[in-house]
């Protein structure tokens, strides 16, 4: 790379080297991820092989869990379960098919909840950035909102929803679940976006004042792009919270069709004879979480120009 006139000032990062290094880093991260999963799986299987079959209890308290098949299925049993039918009768749907449909069902609820939560969270952050008074007034409520237990909100929402209809459209349980999902998602978004939108330093802000371009253009030209490194982790947190909100929401308002409902119903029917059966819907919920995180990672790749500061 050519040198600027005058010697000692040099380019601190050599651009050519960057791509190779980051490729190697990605490869390494993927490898470590796989190793982590393998480690967790073998820890499970090792305990199952060598742990006490009847567990260890001191008085009434279980100190170590039982390692028998009724409590701890083999990892592969969790997966072979996908091929089995849901009910004993002929022509029954496979567990795999049921879980797949439920996973998609929950993903749609969580996705809608995520989008609504992100919009509300971002709008709140914008408002708090715009005015100190708004920040002082709203921020405590944002924080308090998350201390209200979901179990308390869910039945309330379902109850109110009964009275809500526009024409022939009637508020239903899915809408209540979406709201619960959005309720959990908006929090990390508003906090992260607030931090990001207020991240430009005083020199950058004064420069915009000198240019005389007003609040909105300063927002678009400076605050928004500067917030990207903060928005991405906020979006990722919001996405996983939206999935958790959807799964928990389904179980607390008794909405059928999603993985939350399947987790409860499979656990009840599994009993001690078929412990592995409880796992496919749990894996379905995990897949939803991974898809949500993956979508945000993709957004992060598209916005990488705005993330230069992260590695500097």
């Amino acid at each position: 790379m050519p040198q600027a006139d005058g010697g000692s000032e040099s380019v601190t990062t050599v651009r050519r080297g960057e791509r190779g290094t980051s490729n190697r880093a990605h490869y390494r991260a993927a490898l470590l991820g796989v190793a982590g999963i393998a480690l967790a799986a073998s820890a499970w299987e090792l305990y199952k092989a060598f742990g006490p079959q009847a567990g260890v209890t001191v008085g009434q308290t279980i100190v170590l869990p039982r390692a028998n098949d009724g409590v701890m299925p083999h990892i592969w049993q969790m997966f072979t379960e996908f091929g089995k039918p849901v009910t004993a009768g002929t022509g029954s749907q496979t567990i795999g098919g049921a879980v797949l449909a439920a996973t998609w069902f929950t993903l749609r609820l969580a996705g809608t909840g995520w989008i609504v939560g992100v919009i509300i969270g971002f709008a709140l952050a914008m408002l708090m950035t715009r005015s100190r008074v708004a920040e002082a007034a709203a921020l405590p409520w944002v924080v308090v909102s998350q201390t209200v237990p979901l179990i308390a909100i869910a039945p309330l929402l379902a109850g109110w929803g009964q009275y809500l209809h526009v024409g022939s459209w009637q508020w239903g349980l899915p809408q209540s679940v979406m709201v619960i999902s959005a309720y959990l998602a908006f929090y990390p978004m508003s906090i992260g976006a607030l931090k990001g939108l207020t991240s430009p330093d005083v020199y950058q802000l004064e420069l915009m004042h000198v240019y005389g371009i007003g609040w909105w253009r300063t927002f678009l030209r400076l605050r928004l792009p500067a917030a990207v490194p903060y928005l991405l982790p906020a979006l990722r947190l919001a996405a996983t919270m939206a999935v958790v909100g959807a799964v928990v929401g389904e179980t607390s308002v008794d909405l059928q069709g999603g993985v939350g409902y399947l987790i409860i119903s499979f656990q009840q029917t599994a009993g001690l004879s078929d412990a592995a059966r409880a796992w496919p819907p749990i894996i379905g919920a995990m897949v939803d979480g991974l898809i949500a995180a993956g979508v945000v990672a993709l957004i992060g790749v598209l916005l990488r120009r705005y993330r230069r500061g992260e590695n500097a």
């Binding site: 380019v11 950058q204 000198v210 030209r221 230069r308």
Partner: protein, 268 residues
Amino acid sequence: MTAVALSGVERIFRTGKGRQVVALEAIDLTVGEGEFVSLIGPSGCGKSTLLRQIADLDSPTSGTVSVFGKTARQARLDHDYGIAFQQAGLLPWRTVAANISLPLQLHGVEKATAAARVEQLLEMVGLSDFAKSFPDQLSGGMQQRVAIARALAEQPKLLLMDEPFGALDEITRERMQSELVRICQESGAAVVFVTHSIPEAVFLSDRVVVMSPRPGRIVGIVSTTPVAGVERGEAYRDDESFFHGVQEVRHLLHSGHATDGPRGEGAR
């Protein structure tokens, strides 16, 4: 026409509990067109506050500030001055070229015109090969040059600089000073330059304004134009007139009780 005229400028900060800090008191100062004026003094003497009055980043409690015969606010809105701070304040997601063209873009200058101007500025600050680089790939000195180029983008007749070399090492700093002298001669802009380095002020300026704190005021103005036959270049640093200027500024700083004290103290 004068570039900057301040008369009877006073700035009082209220710090609550009825306490007041007099940051500036009875400031009268004019800066001619194309003139290089430095403001020097210890921390808390109000030199940055004074610059901020000219830039319309702050307003005086009393007194008048006029820039090219207009109010400071009007001059700012008319893009009559360029400004550079101690921190370069570049936008990390924009290339060097895009950072320099930022004011041109924001003020609706046509793309082709802006591109031509940016190319010219890159050459002026010696960064033509780095147009497509990003700020995090540049050293501190190079980032500061980008900031100076950005300040000059709209060909202002006035350049306001608040310790622009304050964060640089001594060697880089001296080279940047020589560059600035050349750039100012090329652009013909007047400069108001805040610093707390005596040699820097003397080397760069036509006049050095010495300030003292509590309350912030002007204790004297030293004319520091090199004697006839001496260029404002590296040789000037070893010249007798340079030493003489340094000495005079230093004496004024000391006679003005310009000792470093608690920042901005000066309650009435």
